[in-house]
Amino acid sequence: MNAPLLSVRGLAKHFPIKGGQVKAVDGVSFEVAAGETVALVGESGCGKSTTGRMLLRLTEPSAGTISFDGVDLLGLGRTDLRRRRRELQIVFQDPYSSLSPRNRVEDIIAEPLDVHGLCASREQRRDRVIELLRLVGLDAIHLRRHPFEFSGGQRQRIAIARALAPQPRLIVADEPVSALDVSVQAQVVNLMQDLQEKFGLAYVFISHDLAVVRHIAHRVAVMYLGRLVEMGSTETLFAAPHHPYTQALLSAAPVADPERRRTRIVLSGDVPSPANAPSGCHFHPRCPVAQAVCRESVPELRDMGNGHMAACHFGKPFPISV
């Protein structure tokens, strides 16, 4: 197998707080191949967005390494980092706050082109912006407009066009369709897939929506309180989840089918605060199969066969009750 495009090892982010620290991300390792979509999945506070931001060093990691195309991103100085960021772009959840309201669409999309000096002339810049608008299903007539003149779905298309502008190889998409209505969500998901096929883009797709992830991702990494608890191919993870948290998460997702009002695995309790994470396996206070060992030692992420990884002391998939 070729060397992965992105390789993350032992990535951590610890925020200091009064009387201790919050381990927002605590030793996360994964790889993304060129042209691949890896989804980071989990609930609020699991560290998925912080992980995404660290990949671009928008948040500086406390520990770990990030290797992109063989280059250690954490070792780069400011100028080299900026140059590298041309190949690493990000799309945020809320298209209402990620686009400057005072700028026109042309300047919004051209910003990365200007930053990296990719256009020699105004004509070339405009042509490139028009090309990008068409790529995302918009048109030259939108050049002179401001963000408020667009719907949520169109704004997210503009954000995607901006991310595409410097011809990146990897896009971190942080909940890119979560703020959109379902019919528009489908349009944007399709667009992202088309663009991937066309340009061989890799995505780190951060989402809490399992159905969207099932559709778009090649591989899925599930996070809980700053740690990876399971990682594997989308097919395996959805068909035979190994970790009890993944099983509960899948079982809890509402399904648009009234014939299937299931007996769910309803987890008791809330997600604990990362400032006060439980000992051992973070999941043990809510886990239906927890034993004494789970309170004491942290389970390592280990291979369950076929490269499917799970961090559970009891590595067997138990049958999900449907």
Partner: protein, 320 residues
């Protein structure tokens, strides 16, 4: 007799850019102890409809311009303010999306629930507090005596939403209106709240109106569904019927565009185009610019709601 009967409700917004027909001729009814879901995308009028049920729409710019809302035989539209106040929070409970904004940060949750109880039932301070603890227990809060003395910021999002549900139920309402009650919550917490609403409905026999954009939540909880698009009711059906045999092209498109947890299609199906802007609605059927079955009459006249068999009512010229 129905617990709630909404007939030909129209809510207009009077703005600088013209009149917006936010809710336009919507009718539905709910029997005691039943649940009805109102589903649709942003701007379809579902929240305006819900707020109208208790006359909580912002006036101005909004105004109920026609129609009636009969709750337990009385018309809410023409009701006096004192009578409305007696109804709100007492006979009709309300749950909103964001539990943090529906709770007052400077009072304990017990005080807030007890206040509603004292106001409507004229209980003593002690009796109202006891009732607050009782409803906290009812909504599955562990250690309710202690939690009653907690402030909202000391509770998690899921706990806060339980408190809000408890507050809404404190006076034994006949009807609970829940506007996106689980949208702000994580999926494992959402599952807990849906389970709770289902259990409470079974135990207390409260009628529920659930407003949501999430078809999964609809499929999970309600008996009947109203689908709204751009201020119009486009389809009204029993829940199983709606998912098994959707009739309106919009409902069909909406259901098709939901990605499935079980299977993986090569592409998601979409509905072309976007919802038209509120102040520039097309003539005739408001869905016509996005509809595959569009014909001449769709541009000229609004389709009436007609019976389509199996308990389904649908507003579409192609099916008339």
């Amino acid at each position: 007799m129905s617990l709630l009967e909404v007939t030909d409700l129209a809510v207009h917004l009077f703005t600088n850019r013209g009149v917006v027909r936010a809710v336009d001729g919507v009718s539905f009814s709910l029997d005691a102890g039943r649940s009805l879901g109102i589903v649709g995308e942003s701007g379809c009028g579902k929240t305006m409809t819900a707020l109208s049920l208790m006359r909580l729409i912002p006036e101005p710019p909004a105004r109920i311009v026609s129609g009636s809302i009969r709750f337990d035989g009385e018309d809410v539209v023409t009701m006096s303010s004192p009578r409305l106040r007696a109804l709100r929070g007492n006979q009709i409970g309300m749950i909103y999306q964001d539990p943090m904004t529906s709770l007052n940060p400077v009072f304990t949750v017990g005080e807030q629930i007890a206040e509603a109880v004292r106001l409507h039932r004229h209980d003593t301070r002690n009796a109202a507090w006891a009732r607050a603890v009782e409803v906290l227990r009812l909504v599955g809060i562990p250690d309710p005596d202690r939690v009653a003395s907690a402030y909202p910021h000391q509770l998690s999002g899921g706990m806060r939403q339980r408190v809000v549900i408890g507050m809404a139920l404190a006076c034994d309402p006949k009807l609970l209106v829940a506007d996106e009650p689980t949208t702000a919550l994580d999926v494992t917490i959402q599952a807990q709240i849906l389970e709770l609403l289902r259990r409470l409905q079974g135990e207390l026999g409260t009628g529920i109106i659930l407003i949501t954009h999430d078809l999964g939540v609809i499929a999970d909880l309600v008996d009947d569904v109203v689908v709204m698009y751009a201020g119009k009711l486009v389809e009204h059906a029993p829940v199983r019927r709606l998912f098994a045999a959707p009739r309106h092209p919009y409902t069909q498109g909406l259901l098709r565009s939901v990605p499935s947890l079980e299977t993986r299609e090569h592409r998601l199906l979409t509905i072309d185009g976007t919802v038209p802007p509120a102040h520039a609605m097309p003539n005739g059927c408001r869905f016509n610019p996005r509809c595959a079955l569009v014909r001449d009459i769709c541009h000229e006249q609004e389709p009436p709601l007609v019976d389509a068999g199996g308990g389904t009512q649908v507003a579409c010229w192609a099916l008339t």
